[in-house]
């Protein structure tokens, strides 16, 4: 170990020396005359190529960094989209519409891509009807969502359902539009 370190230090020193030597020599000479290869000194063209190589490496590093950042943003966006997605239901109904299925397929894709995460599916109802039955209906809705996700390939153990019945409305109003927004399943991560 110690040996390899001292070897490395020696190498760095040699390369530095070579670099300084080439710089020192470069000034009085013209670019057209290549250096003798045997002396180990770089020609001007070689030096230029080396600079080019270094620049490319730096560029690649920046690009990789940018790509990583973009990937992170994309992952974050996908997660946000996953958490913002909601599935809506008809009155006194826990069946999934075509639109709901499409959203749930995307949800399943995210869950499969993030296999370390456990999701909580919340079932909600509008405030028509009565509290107890709505608790059960909310449970049914969350269960419908879970069943779909399981069929789409997500492990059942990664999906927990909680019903809130009509207790946590998204919109505290009493009209058709508000009721439609409140009959929903929501997602959060544990």
């Amino acid at each position: 170990m110690k040996k390899s370190i001292s070897l490395g230090v020696l190498l760095i020193m040699m390369v530095s020396l070579m670099f300084f030597a080439s710089c020192a020599k470069k000034a009085p000479e013209t670019d057209e005359y290549p250096m003798d290869i045997r002396t180990g000194e770089m020609t001007a063209a070689e030096a230029e190529a080396e600079r080019e190589r270094q620049r490319r490496i730096a560029e690649e590093e920046v690009e990789a960094y940018r790509a990583r950042q973009a990937q992170e943003l994309q992952t974050e966006a996908a997660k946000t989209q996953f958490l913002d997605s909601k599935v809506y239901f008809a009155f006194d109904d826990s069946s999934l519409s075509a639109e709901a299925r499409e959203i749930l397929l995307a949800q399943a894709r995210w869950l499969k891509a993030n296999s370390d995460r456990t999701v909580i599916v919340e079932g909600h109802c509008d405030n028509r009807g009565t509290e107890e039955y709505n608790l059960a209906l909310g449970s049914r809705r969350a269960q419908s969502v879970k069943d779909f996700l399981v069929n789409a390939g997500v492990e059942p153990s990664r999906i927990v359902t909680i019903s809130y019945g009509e207790e946590r409305p998204a919109v505290r109003e009493n009209n058709e539009a508000a009721w439609a927004k409140n009959r929903r399943a929501e997602f959060r991560l544990r």
């Binding site: 509290e131 107890e132 039955y133 608790l135 059960a136 209906l137 449970s139 269960q143």
Partner: protein, 449 residues
């Protein structure tokens, strides 16, 4: 005073604090003979005109007079609450205040007959130090007879309890059933951050908050002895069933299975089992649980929602809500055979069954035209009657333990409040006055004093 030594029919009224003495009863006249005043099985019973003059002050000071006034008001209010009586306005009385006498010898029955008073309560108040003595006599001015009389001794602070003892006994003498004067109502009230549990006396007095925090509490259910409340709480961020001791306030987790743990109902007569809806098998079904929350057996087996069990008073049948026919309807299951019959056919949304203490009827809330109303139906499915109409959303009916009244929630004044009515739907009025939305009332059994 010819005191008769009949054993009071209410054994439970004796406590160390309060001492009651039976004053008078007509010789040779059994208790049963007085039942014909009120027939509670008749939903259209006529209200009996009742006079409650301010009791006579038997000790000569201002405090006694003040107490006498409070006693008269409480007595009148409490008896009027039952829906059995019409209170005659004191300004119509022919006798001057405090001059109506106490015993049969002093009472001018004609003066009470002339204002249509079919029943009269005379009273006396005596204050010695902090010891209060209240005596009441119930008369029938038309028969010129004493129905019964009682004297109560206790501390001044307990006057409310003494008056309610008399009311309870009076209702027992007149109907053969104990009244609601020693009962409580539990309910849920909305806060900024959740729903909490409250309890109050039958008439809305002694309001007390039971649960704190910002979680959601729902569906309070009294044990048959009135010593415990079971309810659903999101204390651990999911709906679990807890049981609270009313004496100590201690709360314990009763059922915390995966998924739903909701709508607890104690199985009569002893409450050693609790039915509840659980969903740990992936479907909302009603189970019977032991007193430690272990599963005794599964009661329902249908795909879809089965919820809100309500037992018949003998514990042999269970009403519940099921979505098996495509919309929520009420069903009745015979627990011995498992045989299940659909009870409700009118309307597309019938939930929240409550079985009457007599066992003959089931109250529930039914939705039609976007609003909810309270209905009552015989347990065999006959005689459907609508008790509320055109008054906001009316939900969550629960019977008083004497079967004479129903408590429910109503939005008739905007926010949802706790209301009571007679079992026939008469005298609908708000009993709890507090801001915000209240719901899911549960009426306690008759409590130990």
């Amino acid at each position: 005073m010819n005191g008769l030594t009949l054993t009071p029919p209410i054994g439970r009224v004796k406590t160390v604090l309060l001492c009651a003495v039976l004053l008078l009863s007509l010789a040779g006249k059994g208790v049963a003979a007085t039942y014909d005043y009120i027939n509670i099985s008749d939903p259209f019973h006529k209200r009996i005109p009742l006079a409650v003059p301010v009791p006579v002050s038997l000790s000569d000071d201002r405090e006694t007079e003040q107490i006498a006034g409070s006693v008269a008001d409480l007595l009148a209010r409490s008896l009027e609450f039952t829906g059995y009586f019409t209170l005659i306005d004191r300004r119509a009385f022919l006798d001057a205040p405090g001059k109506q006498g106490i015993t049969a010898r002093d009472v001018n029955f004609k003066n009470w007959r002339d204002i249509g008073s079919e029943l009269l309560i005379t009273g006396g108040v005596r204050l010695e130090g902090r010891v209060l003595q209240l005596e009441f006599r119930l008369f029938d001015p038309f028969r010129q007879e004493l129905v019964f009389g009682k004297r109560y001794t206790g501390e001044v602070a307990d006057y409310r309890q003494m008056v309610h003892r008399f009311c309870d006994e009076m209702i027992y003498r007149l109907t053969g059933n104990f009244g609601v004067f020693n009962t409580k109502i539990a309910f849920v009230s909305e806060t900024d951050s959740g729903k909490v549990l409250y309890v109050c006396d039958f008439d809305g007095n002694n309001l007390r908050r039971l649960t704190g925090g910002d979680n959601i509490v729902l569906s309070p259910s009294w044990s048959p002895d009135g010593r415990y409340l079971a309810y659903t709480s999101y204390r651990q961020d999911k709906p679990d069933i807890y049981i609270r001791s009313m004496a100590t306030g201690a709360e314990r987790l009763f059922a915390g299975y995966e998924g739903l743990n909701i709508t607890p109902a104690w199985m009569p007569p002893d409450g050693s089992r609790i039915a509840a809806t659980l969903s740990f098998e992936g479907d909302e079904e009603i189970y019977l649980l032991t007193d430690t929350g272990k599963i005794d057996k599964r009661l329902t087996r249908s795909w879809g929602v089965d919820v809100s069990p309500a037992f018949s008073p003998d514990g042999k049948k269970m009403a519940f809500v099921s979505g098996r026919a495509g919309s929520p309807q009420i069903y009745v299951m015979d627990l011995a055979t498992g045989r299940t019959n659909r009870l409700t056919f009118e309307g597309r949304y019938n939930t929240q069954p409550s079985w009457s203490p007599k066992g003959d009827r089931i109250a529930y809330s039914g939705m039609s035209g976007g609003t909810s109303d309270v209905f009552v139906i015989n347990a065999d499915g006959s005689q459907l009657r609508q008790l509320t109409r055109d008054a906001g959303r009316n939900e969550s009916p629960a019977w008083s333990p004497d079967g004479n009244m129903i408590v429910f929630s109503s939005t008739r004044r905007g926010d949802s409040g706790i209301y009571v009515m007679t079992a026939s739907g008469a005298d609908q009025r708000q009993v709890v006055n507090m801001p915000g939305n209240q719901s899911l009332p549960a009426w306690s059994p008759v409590l130990e004093p």
